[in-house]
């Protein structure tokens, strides 16, 4: 199956290991992955700060770049949420009804990673191995915008050697919220502090989520506390194999 990878601007620049993991994982599962070089950003930061006019060219670019693909995969619930639930609204608000229809149609084949694996490829056991104590934080946009439900957990449960522990108050927002994290920094940190104490109470060594933006916030707090708990994107856990584990042991 031919799949276009939408890396997202944030992962591309700050967390390249995540899209690399998606490439390894999907190729291992027999997909032909392409990375259209014309891609940049879904525009979510502009949209959610109220700058629809600035988001519009990015909406159009996204459609131009990905229109010819039958399946697009992104390792971000939040960016996929923006594409599927906001792009048509932005086009319509900016007086571009034809573009709105075009993107409403095109966005249906844009999938968040766990949706693509479970719904499109029909796999839950992706052959991964990750012998660590892990807890999973369901990010708000994957949970309540995309409704991925327990798909990420189905995938994690099938990972060899994983010790999956429950996160208390898992479905509560971590407090990142895009520009909310700086516009309302005190409230954002208060929410994050509660999330982090739940993470620590879970006893996990690694917090896994489907969005590196939320993980940057959670991880930033964990690191400041010198907690020793790591954050890791779902894609990287699912891409890990027994070979990787052996290599890590050898180091």
């Amino acid at each position: 199956m031919r799949v276009a990878l939408f890396a997202t601007c944030f992962n591309d620049t700050m967390w390249p290991e995540t899209p690399k993991a998606v490439v390894r994982l999907l190729e291992r599962l027999g997909c032909t992955v392409e990375f259209p070089l014309g891609q940049t950003c879904c525009g979510q930061m502009f949209t959610n700060t109220g700058y629809l006019r600035e988001a519009l060219p990015l909406v159009e670019r996204f459609a131009d770049v990905f229109e010819s693909y039958h399946a697009v995969v992104a390792p971000s619930g939040s960016c996929v949420g923006s594409v599927r639930h906001q792009h048509a609204m932005i086009a319509r608000s900016c007086g571009r009804p034809t573009l709105a229809d075009r993107v409403a149609n095109g966005s249906r084949k844009v999938h968040e990673l766990s949706e693509f694996l479970v719904d499109v490829l029909g796999v839950t056991d992706v052959g991964a191995s990750f012998p660590h104590r892990v807890t999973y934080h369901p990010t708000c946009h994957s949970l309540r915008m995309l409704r991925v439900g327990d798909k990420p957990l189905q995938l994690l449960r099938a990972v060899r050697g994983i010790d999956l522990v429950e996160l208390p108050g898992a479905e509560e927002c971590c407090g990142f919220g895009g520009t909310f994290a700086v516009k309302n920094a005190d409230t954002s940190v208060a929410m994050g502090a509660d999330k982090v104490s739940n993470v620590r109470a879970s006893g996990a060594e690694v917090v896994v989520a489907g969005d590196n933006s939320c993980l940057a916030h959670i991880g930033g707090l964990l690191h400041r506390q010198r907690s020793g708990v790591r954050v890791m994107h779902l894609a990287e856990v699912l891409a890990s194999t027994e070979d990787d584990v052996a290599k890590e042991m050898a180091r």
Binding site: F46, N48, G178, V182, H217, L221, R224
Partner: protein
Amino acid sequence: MSGTFVGMPGFPPRFPVAARSALEDSQLRSNLRHATHTIRDKRGRVVAEVADWEELRVAGAAIKDEVLTHLDHYLVELEESLTRAGAQVHWARDAAEANRIVTSLVRATGAEEVVKVKSMATQEIGLNEALEEAGIDAWETDLAELIVQLGHDQPSHILVPAIHRNRAEIKEIFAREMGKVGEPAPDDLTAEPRVLAEAARRHLREKFLRARVAISGANFAVASTGTLVVVESEGNGRMCLTLPQTLISVVGIEKIVPTPTDLDVFLQLLPRSSTGERMNPYTSTWTGVTPGDGPQEVHVVLLDNGRTDALADTVGRQALRCIRCSACLNVCPVYERVGGHAYGSVYPGPIGAVLNPLIRGTASAVDRSLPYASSLCGACFDACPVRIDIPELLVHLRARVVDEKRAGHGRFRPSGEELAMRAGSWLFSDSDRWESAQRASQLGGRMLGGKLLGERDTLGRIPGLAAWSDARDAPVPPTETFRSWWKKHEQHDKEPEQ
């Protein structure tokens, strides 16, 4: 634009500023956390019992949308039904007009005091303060409203206005204040809920039996019959609605349902969403005047106060479906940490963050900051019994705030934020430009992660980025972007196997 008043005097500060002092109050944080989680869990349990909850939500939204789409028709129908049933109908464009009408109605009876049923509409217009100015005492009879009134406080929740207070604080307020305005609290008052409730009962009973005028709002107004409905838990409302000679109800124009049958849907949705009960203890309905039974003089003040401004906003009008259940407050992670006062209105929480800018407009600093007082986590939409898409409305109102700022640029230069957004958009509109910007980030990563700074992988406090870095470390940018890696990876794939 609008100068609609929503029950908080003065000029409240921007949300982040007000939030900061609330966040520092650890007693408040713990009161709020306990109370919101208790109601949240209770609601979750009773909603899960209803197999057709989603159908009820859809039906509730559809009934409200029908009313809002044909509000002109339903308002006239309601007025005709009320008049036919012996009630007198008054129309109020704004808070000042509503207060004038109510004050003159009370004066005409010669009464110097009124008893009040818990009502968001009368809080919204600041009726108690207006009556006080006219020399009329207004006694709140809902237990939580009584706590707020006796404590010279502001409500911080729609359903549980004293949610920010714990039992010990309530005991202090009762002991100190009750005697100043009526029956004092007993000397052996404790912080036990039963004892506190008994003190309130005694204090209020004196007022119920004396009052000649009552003031209420209404949860619903049935257009076809002119029936008003009040849904409550304590029975104080029933006392106010039946004992006095005169009853004045202030009703927002969006409270209409077309027929009594529509109550079937809302009387299932409201109690489960608000108090987490299958059914509320008291539901009072009255249709104008019943000769010889209950109030013989019945007035209904139909209140606009910015609602038609919200109605004119084709995206925003769904906020007028709100039945004031406060389920969105109880699930909101922002409200849970900050409480209600930071919203600068009697309508706090997620619904307040959209309703206030819709009915008051975005002229004030607090109203411009409210649409941003959310992480867009979406818990409010899932909890809303009438399916108000609050996250969608928040984004819509953020765009309105930005567009209004842009329109004001004739006088001011664009803000730093707007310049940054424009630059970002320009950068992302071309992948070559974006790649050049990434090279700068890689260079930064090489410098920051280099030997000079001790090969660090994270950054601590960063000057100029205090909002992020005061409490959170930030990663050092990686030395190779995904895009650069991909180009090599793809090249490697194309080379023939060795």
